[in-house]
Symmetry: C2
Subunit: 94 residues, 2 copies
DNA sequence: ATTCTATTTAGAAATATTTCTAAATACTGA
DNA sequence: TCAGTATTTAGAAATATTTCTAAATAGAAT
């Protein structure tokens, strides 16, 4: 479990913004890059980190690589935080 | 809102472990330090980061400074993650 | 007032992260 | 096969983070 890796990945503002973009649906690396004032190489670097943290996964289609959110790891983070708060991981009261 | 600061603070394993120690109750800087193979200065550095991120707060008593968890910021993180998952921040189904 | 203990601050060294440019890879379509 | 487009990799520079030692501060107790 690369739990630490996930938090590390979430600690960068660019990477969080990429995740927010992907919330609406899959995007190619180029599409993602067009939202930032950075080179494609830098975007690729951030995508690699997100991939290693299991926060996104890719699927190849035609000449493109599409990225999409993987929400399962987010569940684990939620669980860690909930446990830290001293709460029950189950149903929240209201 | 220093939202980015909070994620940054959570990205370090030592700081997450400090938070877990504080889950059981307030501890002095010295008490916290005794759980790590690091100098008090380094622990102090990490405590400062956690304090700036509003993840802990301190209260002075006698010769000691006691630190404790502040869970309100954790709620905000949960909200961000829940929203990212595309979910309703309200009641979770089961 | 002085001394002792707890903690923080300052400054420096080691390491890690982010970003770029240039080159490489991979796949598409003519 | 060759040319074009999308993306990644390699290597280097700039910046940020983590850790240490040594010194400073703050408060407690003699």
């Amino acid at each position: 479990m690369a739990f630490a890796e996930t938090f590390k990945a979430l600690s960068d503002p660019v990477r969080r913004q990429i995740l927010e973009l992907l919330k609406k649906g899959p995007l190619s690396a180029g599409d993602i890059g067009s939202h930032f004032d950075m080179t494609g190489a830098t975007i690729s670097y951030h995508l690699k980190i997100l991939k290693q943290a299991d926060l996104i996964f890719e699927s190849r289609e035609k000449n493109y690589i599409y990225y999409q959110l993987n929400t399962t790891v987010l569940e684990e983070i939620m669980l860690w935080i909930t446990t830290l708060k001293g709460g029950d991981p189950g149903v929240e009261s209201k």
